[in-house]
């Protein structure tokens, strides 16, 4: 079955492109210290050096910091925030969604109303306020992003559980004396995994965008070089030095695009297989 899945995924060229781009970004993040041993905050060349210069091939910013180095080190923060925030949001979302969907009734409506509470507040405002209250740090940024990301996932999982718990194999598990935890984890969850994986991959992209937006507004971790911070600090000289915001922008665009393509590819690869599986 996994080989089938990989074959279906490979058929989607966009998804393969996404995997390649994301892989390169990952390598860049991992080897940032080797590629650019000096701190991205250090001045390495004359300020306002245009790109394709011998000293800095993507140019330097207003303080002479190497943009290529900033992108490489920024990739670490972006990917880390994206992945960790998503992991937290998925855990919370799946847990609440599963409990609500499986039990139904009062527990369900309590959880749904709690979810709605978060969904009625504009995401970005909530993130900004949370980060502002807890002072910007990687920890508070990840927390704030996770805080706004879990509600849609909880609703998705709840919906899946609502329909799956009525399926006869779940009822058979109940009659054979299995515990609620076993039923949720072993019977239902594996069957709702594909939409969760797909939306998680898209959520990583959203988290990266949120983190960049925060940094752009100056609410990023002050000790971490990030793509959003680079764009934010270059916005005043946008017309004189396009490269300062252009290259970090391209980095964000490529990463988010790659993640979206992967998400779509996963979606396509999961669905036909399920359909085929049901028919045979």
């Amino acid at each position: 079955m996994p080989t089938d899945f990989i074959r279906a995924f490979q058929r989607n060229r966009g998804a393969v492109f996404g995997v390649v781009v994301l892989g390169l970004m990952l390598l860049l993040a991992i080897f940032a210290d080797l590629l650019f041993p000096t701190s991205p905050w250090d001045m390495t060349a004359a300020p306002f050096t245009p790109p394709f210069d011998a000293s800095a091939w993507l140019g330097t910013d207003t303080l002479g910091r190497d943009i290529a180095s900033g992108i490489a080190h920024g990739a670490r923060v972006s990917l880390l925030v994206g992945v960790v925030a998503t992991a937290v949001a998925v855990t919370v979302g799946v847990l609440l969604g599963a409990i609500a969907g499986y039990h139904g009734g009062r527990i369900d409506s309590a959880i749904v109303h709690f979810t709605e509470l978060f969904q009625t507040i504009p995401n970005f405002v909530l993130v900004v306020v949370t980060v502002a209250i807890f002072t910007p740090s990687l920890f508070s940024i990840v927390g704030a992003i996770a805080l706004v990301s879990w509600p849609p996932l909880a609703r998705l999982v709840r919906g899946e559980f609502l329909s799956l718990r009525e399926r006869e194999f779940v009822q058979a598990a109940i009659t054979s004396g299995q515990s609620t935890t076993t039923i949720i984890l072993r019977q239902i969850l594996p069957n709702s995994l594909s939409p969760i994986i797909v939306s998680a991959s898209l959520m990583v992209a959203t988290s990266i965008l949120l983190e960049s937006s925060l940094s752009f507004l100056g609410l990023g971790d002050p000790n971490a070089m990030t793509w959003g911070f680079m764009i934010g600090s270059a916005r005043t000289v946008l017309r004189q030095a396009w490269w300062m915001s252009f290259f970090p922008g391209v980095a964000i665009l490529l990463t988010v695009l790659a993640l979206n393509l992967i998400g779509e590819g996963l979606n396509d690869a999961f669905n036909p297989r399920l359909r085929r599986g049901r028919r045979t």
Binding site: E168, A172, Q178, P190, R278, T280
Partner: protein, 554 residues
């Protein structure tokens, strides 16, 4: 019966071959099939699922799903004109005027957002140049002709207000609005219960006689064939194995496959010996009541749908109690209550003297072992992500058995239900419906229950597989001395497998007694009408087949 043999055929199918997409289990859905229908006759095309019977109907209507299925060779002649060679536009005109079709699923075949009248009228708008008033008059006439009450009211209603049987009548009205020469009916009564099925069959027959129409009736049920057919074509794996007059096919079938199909029909076995095992009852249900709240009107009282009304039931060890009744009569609710999936509003459920309804979750758990269930839908009742062996072993493991022992036992159970032990390491999607139902039975047996609840366990299966699964259940029951609560809508099956039968209607058991007596000398009018609605009740299955063995492929 036919009397139309001298006439030229209305529809002639010549060496029709429809190709399946590459990688299917066979190259053609139907291969080189030829038959003809003359005006004023009903041809039943009968076969099991996957035999290609629906494909023919869809090919005639030009409804084959593109690009998966295509007509590879052959001709479909409608009044001597070859449909296959026609342009799309010509085909469409022909379809509306000359051929009408009704489908299996009346619940989804109507547009939920359009009034019934508008849906029937739409057909007339497209295909005729009648004006509004004429159309409306014809719509009302059509609604009346299919036997629906209050035509004016029906015309203005939306589909959700109508029952399944009423919707099927509307579908028939739509198909007949343009007075077609040929009506193709693709399993039109399969989704309906017996009583409604009987009415719809009568309606189709009456309309056919009145209009001297040709009808191609696709079905899997020989009872329906006996009820309605003038001629019969038996299909198997894309071929017509036998075609002839209804009398000949039903009473003197020539082809071994037809014989096998007829022999596998339930309800003609030797009468069961009367059940004598009295003594301590295993399960006693007393005054079980259950109702569900319906959507409440604004500020009004919550109306309740009563699905079990004061039900009493006794099951002895080794006894098979059947519950029969049409859909919505509360059979499944009762079964789910007994197995502990639903909590009733009131009553007592005594299992070996203990009232199960008074127990809390923890105290109830040991009793879960004793009552197990086999579900209706073999495709939904096995977790697609688990191996068959694990599925069977999960129950014993939940009751504390060591996983290795449970798995070894699961393999033995697989052999008991007629599957190889190696099946344990495969996934459910690798098995057919009948095999999955065997797995389901093995799972239920794994915890060594005393009572097995079977909720329509064979209604999703083909006739020949049905009889095998029924025989397996019967055999296992005897071997393990199991008591069984068997739920079915099919009285023929109940007659074959049950010792005692309870007839349910509107949440009540209206008649209860030995199967033999209830099904041959019913005292209640409802039981009698159920029996009368059985399709093909006037057809006696020839004795020689009744004894023939039907087991071929599982």
């Amino acid at each position: 019966m036919t009397g139309a043999t001298a006439m030229e055929p209305l529809l002639e199918v010549r060496r029709l071959t429809v190709a399946l997409p590459e990688g299917s289990d066979r190259p053609f859905a139907v291969e080189r099939i030829s038959f003809a229908i003359t005006a004023n006759e009903i041809l039943c095309v009968v076969g099991e699922s996957g035999s290609g019977k629906s494909v023919i109907g869809h090919a005639i209507m030009g409804l084959l799903p593109k690009p998966d299925l295509r007509i590879a060779a052959g001709a479909i002649l409608l009044r001597q004109q070859n449909v296959v060679a026609m342009s799309e536009a010509k085909q469409r005109a022909l379809r509306g005027h000359r051929v009408g079709m009704i489908f299996q699923e009346p619940m989804t075949a109507l547009n939920p957002l359009m009034r019934i009248g508008a849906q029937i009228e739409e057909v007339l708008e497209i295909h005729t140049d009648m004006d509004r008033a004429q159309r409306r008059k014809l719509v009302l006439e059509m609604i009346r002709s299919v036997g629906l009450p209050n035509p004016e009211e029906i015309r203005r209603s939306y589909p959700f207000r109508l029952s399944g049987g009423q919707r099927q009548r509307v579908m028939i009205a739509m198909a007949l609005a343009l007075k077609p020469d040929l009506l193709i009916a693709d399993e039109p009564t399969t989704a309906l219960d017996v009583m409604t099925q009987k009415q719809i069959l009568d309606l189709i027959k009456t309309i056919q006689r009145e209009r001297h129409m040709a009808v191609m009736f696709i079905t899997h049920d020989f009872g329906v064939v006996a009820e309605i057919a003038d001629r019969v074509a038996v299909m198997r794996e894309g071929h017509i194995v036998e075609i002839g007059g209804a009398d000949d096919i039903l009473n003197q079938p020539q082809h071994p496959y037809t014989r096998q199909l007829i022999a596998s029909l339930p309800g003609h076995g030797a009468p069961r010996p009367p059940f004598l095992g009295q003594g301590e009852p295993l399960l006693v249900a007393e005054n079980i009541r259950k109702s569900f709240p319906l959507a409440s009107r604004f500020m009004g009282k919550v109306r309740r749908l009563v699905v079990a009304d004061d039900i009493n039931l006794t099951i002895h060890p080794g006894e098979t109690v059947g519950l029969v009744g049409s859909s919505g009569s509360g059979k499944s609710t009762l079964a789910r209550t007994v197995v502990g999936l639903l909590k009733p509003d009131g009553g007592r459920l005594l299992f070996k003297g203990t009232d199960l309804l008074r127990l809390n979750r923890r105290a109830f758990k040991p009793f879960r072992r004793d009552v197990q269930m086999v579900f209706q839908d073999p495709y939904a009742s096995l977790n697609p992500r688990h191996r068959v062996g694990d599925i069977i072993a999960q129950g014993p493991i939940a009751f504390g058995e060591n996983p290795a022992t449970a798995l070894a036992h699961a393999k033995e159970l697989l052999e008991l239900v007629g599957l190889p032990a190696v099946a344990a390491s495969r996934y459910p999607h690798e098995f057919s419906g009948g095999q999955r139902q065997r797995i389901s039975i093995a799972r239920a047996l794994a915890v060594k229950p005393a009572l097995l609840i079977a909720d329509e366990p064979v209604s999703a299966l083909d006739a020949s597989v049905q009889s095998q699964v029924l025989r397996l259940l019967d055999d296992i029951r005897h071997r393990l001395n199991l008591a069984m609560l068997f739920i079915t809508h099919d009285l023929r099956i109940a007659a074959e497998i049950c010792d005692t039968v309870g007839v349910m209607q509107h949440g009540r058991i209206v008649e209860y007694g030995p199967a033999d007596k209830v099904l041959s000398q019913p005292s209640e009018p409802y039981t009698r009408s159920l029996l009368e609605a059985l399709p093909g009740r006037n057809w006696r299955i020839p004795r020689e087949f009744a004894t023939a063995d039907a087991a071929v492929n599982p």
